[in-house]
Symmetry: C2
Subunit: 188 residues, 2 copies
Amino acid sequence: MNLKAERGAATREKVLAIATRLFAERGYDDTSIETVLQESGLSRGALYHHYAGKDALFEAVLEATESAIGVKIAKAVRGIADPAAALLAGALAWVRLAGDPVIRRIVLIDAPAVLGWESWRAMEERYSFGMLKAALQATGAVPDDFVDLHAHMLLAAVNESALLVARGGDTATAEAAVAEFLRRVLKP
Amino acid sequence: MNLKAERGAATREKVLAIATRLFAERGYDDTSIETVLQESGLSRGALYHHYAGKDALFEAVLEATESAIGVKIAKAVRGIADPAAALLAGALAWVRLAGDPVIRRIVLIDAPAVLGWESWRAMEERYSFGMLKAALQATGAVPDDFVDLHAHMLLAAVNESALLVARGGDTATAEAAVAEFLRRVLKP
DNA sequence: CTCGATTACAGACCGACTGTCGGTCTAGGA
DNA sequence: TCCTAGACCGACAGTCGGTCTGTAATCGAG
């Protein structure tokens, strides 16, 4: 049971890569399973053998993307001792990452509508939001009662900046604005 | 040109109301034109005579909803002289409004994915965002360079709180958190 | 009042898409 | 060697958005 399992994994990976590209380029609705099939050279049956449906395929793509983001942000924060500085570094890294159209379209725009807000939120909790909340808690700058809500608001604010940059806004200004915004929120 | 125009307007209004309810209950994707047709007793031809397509119908629904929101928030702010206080009042009103599933699903979740982020942003600009930005500018609490970006971030943050409340969070806590958040952002 | 133009509405029809289902093939353990 | 499980195949059904042709009623000009 090795060759078979490997082949299966390779197929899943291939489909995942192609689907990621297509979802990012055209969005979820305008990406047909048919196209994924054509570009991957796979048959319908094969695809539906690995993924339960179009939704499930998207969810797998999202999961992989979020995971990759988590790794990159963790790398950007590594070695920074001061919690506030780490928070800022992470936020800025995220703003830069969201310039990537893949992340922009899949994670920020389509995901809530496709998965439903609940599932989307649950996944964010496991990745970017979880990290941000822990960092915010560590700074101790926010009353305990508000840590959760303020973490949500901060993440939303930073996401918004990322989207603005991705639309073609000035990156430098956006990063300065995020830094200033964060400074204000962290200083009572 | 009166009876005909009136009948047309009445039809549009009727379809709009039904579509609004369905979009809010099931979301854009899971609402079929067929269902709208059944519930309104209209024919396909009639609907496509008034609206260019499903997208256009959704856009009309969104426009009407945003407009209604604008009116309500303007009412909540009316008579408050202090810009910062008005900003806070408007934000809290918006948080409460977003408890309405219609607003939640249509404006905050589906709109960006259906219209595309650009068009969604353009419409927000004409309504809630436009008001928030003007109010923020009036407070003079934020450097001119950052007014636009901070307005975006604030709106996103407040939207997020609204979504959390709508999911079943504690309204009182959320409002307190928003107030505190706003206070921090406005005080350099 | 007459008559062409315009508008509201009707519903058959088409193409595209998603998801299902019975079946084939092959690797690898018993 | 045999037999099971998993990878893969492709025809098919059902749904849905959108188009097209046709009909009835209203409107405005003459």
